[in-house]
Symmetry: D4
Subunit: 226 residues, 8 copies
Amino acid sequence: MAPSSSNKSSVLPTGGGAALMDPSDTLVLLLDHQSGLFQTVKDIPVADLRRNVEMIAKLCTLLNIPVVTTASEPSGSNGPLMPEIHQYAPHAVYVPRKGEVNAWDNADFVAHVESTGRKTLVMAGVWTSVCVMFPALDARVAGYDVFAVIDASGDPSEMVSRTSLARFVQGGVKPTSTNALLSELHRTWARPEAASLAQLYGLVAPNYAAVMESYQRAQEAVKKAV
Amino acid sequence: MAPSSSNKSSVLPTGGGAALMDPSDTLVLLLDHQSGLFQTVKDIPVADLRRNVEMIAKLCTLLNIPVVTTASEPSGSNGPLMPEIHQYAPHAVYVPRKGEVNAWDNADFVAHVESTGRKTLVMAGVWTSVCVMFPALDARVAGYDVFAVIDASGDPSEMVSRTSLARFVQGGVKPTSTNALLSELHRTWARPEAASLAQLYGLVAPNYAAVMESYQRAQEAVKKAV
Amino acid sequence: MAPSSSNKSSVLPTGGGAALMDPSDTLVLLLDHQSGLFQTVKDIPVADLRRNVEMIAKLCTLLNIPVVTTASEPSGSNGPLMPEIHQYAPHAVYVPRKGEVNAWDNADFVAHVESTGRKTLVMAGVWTSVCVMFPALDARVAGYDVFAVIDASGDPSEMVSRTSLARFVQGGVKPTSTNALLSELHRTWARPEAASLAQLYGLVAPNYAAVMESYQRAQEAVKKAV
Amino acid sequence: MAPSSSNKSSVLPTGGGAALMDPSDTLVLLLDHQSGLFQTVKDIPVADLRRNVEMIAKLCTLLNIPVVTTASEPSGSNGPLMPEIHQYAPHAVYVPRKGEVNAWDNADFVAHVESTGRKTLVMAGVWTSVCVMFPALDARVAGYDVFAVIDASGDPSEMVSRTSLARFVQGGVKPTSTNALLSELHRTWARPEAASLAQLYGLVAPNYAAVMESYQRAQEAVKKAV
Amino acid sequence: MAPSSSNKSSVLPTGGGAALMDPSDTLVLLLDHQSGLFQTVKDIPVADLRRNVEMIAKLCTLLNIPVVTTASEPSGSNGPLMPEIHQYAPHAVYVPRKGEVNAWDNADFVAHVESTGRKTLVMAGVWTSVCVMFPALDARVAGYDVFAVIDASGDPSEMVSRTSLARFVQGGVKPTSTNALLSELHRTWARPEAASLAQLYGLVAPNYAAVMESYQRAQEAVKKAV
Amino acid sequence: MAPSSSNKSSVLPTGGGAALMDPSDTLVLLLDHQSGLFQTVKDIPVADLRRNVEMIAKLCTLLNIPVVTTASEPSGSNGPLMPEIHQYAPHAVYVPRKGEVNAWDNADFVAHVESTGRKTLVMAGVWTSVCVMFPALDARVAGYDVFAVIDASGDPSEMVSRTSLARFVQGGVKPTSTNALLSELHRTWARPEAASLAQLYGLVAPNYAAVMESYQRAQEAVKKAV
Amino acid sequence: MAPSSSNKSSVLPTGGGAALMDPSDTLVLLLDHQSGLFQTVKDIPVADLRRNVEMIAKLCTLLNIPVVTTASEPSGSNGPLMPEIHQYAPHAVYVPRKGEVNAWDNADFVAHVESTGRKTLVMAGVWTSVCVMFPALDARVAGYDVFAVIDASGDPSEMVSRTSLARFVQGGVKPTSTNALLSELHRTWARPEAASLAQLYGLVAPNYAAVMESYQRAQEAVKKAV
Amino acid sequence: MAPSSSNKSSVLPTGGGAALMDPSDTLVLLLDHQSGLFQTVKDIPVADLRRNVEMIAKLCTLLNIPVVTTASEPSGSNGPLMPEIHQYAPHAVYVPRKGEVNAWDNADFVAHVESTGRKTLVMAGVWTSVCVMFPALDARVAGYDVFAVIDASGDPSEMVSRTSLARFVQGGVKPTSTNALLSELHRTWARPEAASLAQLYGLVAPNYAAVMESYQRAQEAVKKAV
C-alpha cells in the first residue's frame, strides 16, 4: 500500500517554487534494478548506481514518499532486484510483470500508479533507454509529469546514455539527477529531518561525507581547547 | 520484396505503449554500411558498430520487419556493404543509387519506401551526420515518424557525433540505440521467439552473454547436486 | 544596494544584437559558491571554477553590473563563500537565507531581485543542478530571461552535469559560459575599459594570457631593434 | 564581390531534399579564425580545426559559394587570420570591424551579408560561443536560416563546447559539421567536380585518404597482373 | 600491540609461490587517510578509495595481519582519519607523529615497525607521492620488502599518479592493488574463512557482489522448482 | 596431452630474431577466463577480451602450440570458462585446481607445465593482477621466460591495470599484446598458413577485416572491368 | 649568486630519510618556461603548469633553495619567461644561452651549476621531452642525482608525456611531482615556516585551499558560539 | 645509397651531451607505414601520425641523415607506403622484404643497416608492438643503440600502446618522441638550417605554427607603425 497523500510537509515554502516538483504529488518508480542487468551498465560504475538508488530508498522513507518497484522475471538471468531498495524503503510496493519489457504495458502496474492519485512520476531503472524510457514516454502521453533520474539508472554505453538523455528531452520527460532529487524533495533545511538528510548528501556526493567529518573534528578541536 | 505488413504480432500488449513504435508499421533502412567508410568512424569501435548492425539484421528476420539497404557506389573506394546484413536478413532489399549522397534524393529509394506503406522509418548508417541525417530530415518533412539508431551508425569524430545528435532532435528525428530498438520491437518476453531474442541481448550488451552463461552453469550445478 | 540601472554604456552598438543580453537590464546572481560544496564538484576543476567566478566579480565591477550573493548556512559544513567574490565585487549584496535550498523560496531574495527592476538574470552556483537549477526554473516561470553560466557552476559528476544542461534547455533557461558572458556584456573593444577587459580574457582562457605576453615581447623586440 | 547567385548546379536532384540547404542560397561566414585565438581552443586540436576550415575554403571555391571573412583587430594580440582561407578561397571578401565582438553589430558586415541576397548563412569561427554564437542568434532573429559548423569552430573547454551546442539548438541555429557541410553542398557524385570532391573527403576524415590510397594500389596490382 | 607472528596459516600451499608475499611476515601500514586530504585526491574517486581501505582493514582482521595507522595532526585542517579503519580493524595500532611529513622520519613509528619483526611492509596512504612514497623509499633502503597499494592511496592528479608509479618501480618498491593484496594474502579458497573472503571481493570489485547475488538466486530458482 | 615439441616450423627465419620467442619452445597458459569474473573487468571491453582470447585459441591450433587452461571452481559464482577456448583449441588441456588462487600453487598445474619441456610461458587470464601475476612471478623465479598478454587479460580498473603492467616489468615478466603474439609466433607470411593467419588479424584489429574486404572488392571491380 | 649551502635546516629529522633529497644539497633548474612554448603544451593545462612553477619559486625563496633559470632566445617566437618565477624567487639566477636546445650544451650553464657545489638537481621545463630530458640525461651521466618535476613541465601530447616518463626512468632520472617536491623539501611541519608552507599546499592542490577555508570557518563558528 | 657518415655538423656543441644521440652515427628506419595498416592504428590519429613521419622525412633530408624504408607486401591489403616519406626524403632507400614480419629477419635489411656503419638506430613504424618492437629488440641484442619514436608509430589500442612502451624499456630500447628527435638531432639554433628547422616545429606541435604567425604579425605591426 502506498503512503497516503497527506504527507505534504508544512515546512515547505509556500510562496515560490512553482516550477519544482511537489512532494505530496510525487510517486517514485524503481524499475528493474536487477543484478544481472547491472553487469551491462557502462555509463556509471555499479557501486555509484546502487548507492544512488539506496539514497532514493532512504529518502522516500524519510519523507514518506510512496515507492513502486517492479522487475522483469527476477528468477531468470536478469537476476534479483538489488535488496537495498526494499531494505531501506520497506513501504515500497512490488508489482510483478508478466514478461512485458515496458512496465506501462502491464495493466497492474498502471493501475497501481493510478491508484495513488499522484501525477508526478519520478522514474529510475536499468536500462535507462528501455526500462525507464518506455514507461516515461507512455506516462507523458498519459498526462503525467515525468522525471527520469539519470544517475540512478544505467545504459550499456556512453553513446547510448547521451542518446537516452536527448530522447527524454525530446519526449517531454524531465531529466534530473539523484542529488537534485534529494534537494528538490526536501527543499529546506528548516525541518525536523535535517540531520538525517545531511547524511544522505554523503551518499550522492561521497566527498561531502568527508567535508562533514572534517567540520565536526575542527569544531571538536576548538571545544577541547576551550 | 518487403515482408507484408500483416506481421503485427498478436502477443503485443494492447492497452499501453501509445508512445512507442509499432512493429507492424516499421521499416528499417540501413544506409551505406561500407567497409571503406568504416575506417573513418571514430565515435564507436567498428567491431561494436558491426555487431549492432548484425543484431538489427537478425532481429528484423526474427520479427519479420522489412529492411532496405543501399550504398553509394560499392565498387568505388567506399567499399562493399558489410556482408552480415544480407547474410542475416536475406529478405532485405538492396536499392542502388546513382551517385546521390542523400538516399532520399534517389527516386527509386523513396518509391520503395512508399511502396511498403509503412510510416515509421528506423534509420542507421555511416556517416550518421550525412547518410542518416539527410534522408531522416527529408523523411520527417515528408511526414514520416523517423528514428535514428545512433550506435548502429558512425561519425568521423566525437564532436561530430554529438553535433549530429543535437541536429536530429532539433529536426524532429527521434534518436535511439540498438538495445532500445531491440526491446521496443519485441516488447514482451511472452512470445515464442523469446529464446532467440535473449541471444540478441548478448550482441547489444556483451556482458549479458556472460550473465547468461553464469546463470546456466549455476543452475546446472544445482541440478547435478540434486 | 545594487548599482543604478543607468549604467547602459553609450558605446554599445545600437543597430544589432537584439538576441543578446542587455547589460543595463542584467543582474548577476552568485549562489552558494562555498568551500565545503566545492569539494563535491567533479565536472570542473575547482581552480578553474573559482577563477571563472573571480572573473565575473571583476567584470561586474568594471562594467557596473549589480551582483547578489547568497549562501546556505555559511557557518555549517557547507563552509564560507569563496572570499574572492566580495573582494573583487565590493558592490555585491549578500542576502542570507533561512535554510531554503532554493534561493527563490526565500522571500528576501526574490524581493531583492525584484527591487533592481532588471529582468535578465545571470545565475551561477554550486550545485548547478540544484542551487542554479531551482531558482532558474522558478525565475523563468516568473517571466525573467534567465542565463545559467555552466562553467562558473559545478555539479557532482559529469553525468549530472550533462543532465543539468539538458534540463536547463528544456526549461527555457539559456545556458552560457564565462567567456561568452564576458564578451556578451562588454560587446565592443571600442570602449575605455578595453585594457582591463583584455586582462579578464586571460582568466577565462589562461592560454590567452601567454598570447598577450608573447605579443608584447615580440613588439618590444622590434622597438629595441629600431 | 560575392559570386553571383546563378551557381545553382543543374546536377542537383530536383525532387527530394527539401529539408537540406540550397547551395544557391548559401553564404559562408568565417569569423575570427586568428592565430592568437587558436591557442585558447581546447575542444578540438588546432591542426584539425585548421584543416576543416581549409576544406571549407576549397569547397566554396570548387562549388562557387560566396565566402565572407572578418577579424577582430588582426594587428592586435588576437593575431592574423589563418592564411589558408584567402589562399584557397581567393574570392572570399574580408570585412574589417571597428572593435565589435559580434560581427552582426558591425553595419558593414550586415550590409554585405544582405547584399548577397542569400538567406542561408553557414557560420564558423573562434570562439564558437562568442564569435559564432552572437551573429548566429542575431541572424536567426533577423530571419535567416543559420547553420553553425561546430568542428570548424573552437571553444576554450569541452564544457563550454557542449554548452554552446545546447544554446545553438535552443536559439534555432542548426548545428552541423564540416563533413556534413561538404556532403550537403555537393549532394551528388554525378557531377563534374567529383574527383576534386573526393580529395576533400580526405581532409575531413584523414583515414579516408588512406582508404583511397589502398584502393588505387589494389587496383593497380590487378592491372599489372593482367 | 601487533598480533603475534604465529599467524601463518597452515592452509597455505607449501610448494610454490616463492615470489609472493608471506602473510606471516607482512605488516600493513595505513598512512594519513584523512578527510581533509581526501578532498585533494583526483586519481581515484573517494568512495572507491575508502571502500578499498575498508577492505584492507577487514582483511587484516580476518587473517590476523597486524596494522599500523598514523596521521599528520588529525586536529588540524588535514582532518581526522577515516573511522572505518579502526572500526573494522580494532587491533590496528595508531602511532601519532610530531609534525613529520614522512612517517619514517618519526622514531616511534620506525621503532614500532621494527618491533613486529616483520620484513614485508604493505603501505597505502594519501598522498601516494608523499605519505606512501617517502617511507616506502626509506624502508626499501633499510632492507624491507615494500609494497605500495596504489588504489588504496591517492594523488592530486592523474599526472602525479603515473609519476608516483614510475618512481616506486625505480626505487624498488613493488606496486600492487587492493584486489591483488586480497588474493595474495589469502592464497587459497580451501580455508575456513572462505565465505567471509568472498564478501570482500564484492568490495574490491562491486560487480562481483552482483555476480554473487545472481548466482544465489539462479540456484534458489532451481531448488524451488525441484 | 600437449602437442609434441617437434612443431618448429622450417619456414622460420634462421638468421635473426634471437630476442623473440621461439614457437617450438612456447606454451600458452589461459587462466580463469570465466564468465563471472568477466563482469569485474574494467580495463578492456569484455567483447574485445573474448575476441582476443578466441584469436589465441585459433592461433595455437593453427600453429600447433600447446595450450593449458585452468579455472578456480567453475561451478561456483566465478562461472564457467568461456567456451570459445576449448571450441577453437580442442587440443587444450584443462587442469582443475583445488581452491588455490595462484595456479602455480597447484602441483598438478606446475607438473603439467614441466612435462611439456617448454621454457617460454605465454600467460593470459582474469584478473591480470592476480591470476596472471602470481604464476608469472613464480614461473620467473623458477627460471622460465614469461610473457603476459595484457589485452587477453583483464583487471578491475584502469588504475589496477597500469599497476599490473609496472609490476610485471619490475618482476622480469615481459608484457605483450595479442596482436604482437600473433605476429611473433608466425613470424613470416611465407608459410602455408598465410591465408588463415590473415583472418586472425581481423580479430585483433577489426578495422583490418574491413581493409581486406575493401581490398578484395577493389580488385574484383578491376577484374570485372577487364 | 646562489644561496650558500649552509641552509640545511636544523629542524630536519636526523635519523631517517636517507632515500630522500637533502635540501642543503639541492639546486632547482627551471628551463624554458616561455609563453610561446606554453601554447604547445597538451599534457597539463597551462594554468596548472604555471601555478606549479609559481609554487616552486615561492618554495625556494621560503626555504632558501638556489634557483637557476634559462631560456632559448626569449626575444624570439618562443616568447619571454613567465614573469612569476623571478617575481617570486628574486634570488633566481638567469643564465642566457647561445642557441643551444640543451642547456647542458651551454658551458656557462654547466659552470654555474658546478659553482653551487650541489649535486642534487631538480629540473622542470617546457618541453619535458627536450628541455628537461636532455640536460637531465647529461647531468645523470655527469654524476648528479637528478629529479624531473613532471607536472611543472609540459609536453606536446599525452603520448609524448608518457614516453618522457619512461625515458627518464630508463636513464636513471627520478620522476617526481610538484606536491612531492614541496613535501620532500620541507619534510616537517615543526618548523617556523609552517604557516607559509600551508599556503603553498593550496597551490599544488587547489581543493586544499578550500579545506583550509572550511576549517577556519568551522572553528570561528565555535569560538563565536563560546 | 646511404649518405656518407661525414655529415657531423661542426656547429654541434663539443663539450656536453654525451648522453644524447650523435647525428653522425644515426640511421633512421621507417617500417611499414602503409595505408592499410593505418586504419588499425588507435593510439594516435592518423593525421598526426603521418604529419610526424613527414617531419622525420624532412628533417633527415635537411640534416643529411640516412633513411631506410621497408614494407610488408605493398601490393597486398596492407597497402602502399605513405608517399610523403620518399617525397620529402628522396635519399631514402627502400628495402623490400620476402614476407618476414620482422625486418630484422630479412638478411638484406640487416645487411643494409650494417653497411651504413652507423650504430644508433632510430625506428618508427606500424604497428609499434610488432614492426618496431621486433627489429628493435633484435638490434639491441646485436649491440645497437636503439630508439623507438612512439608517436611516429601506431598500435591497435591504447592498452597495446602502453604495453609496447613498457616492453621497449624492459628490452633496453630507448623510447622517444618526434619532437624530441627533432631537437636531439639539430641540437642548436646556431646553425644555417635554423629557419627551416623552425618550420618543422610547426609540424610536431601545430600550435607552434600559430605562435610563429602571431609573432611575425606582432612585429610587422610595430614596423608599420614605426
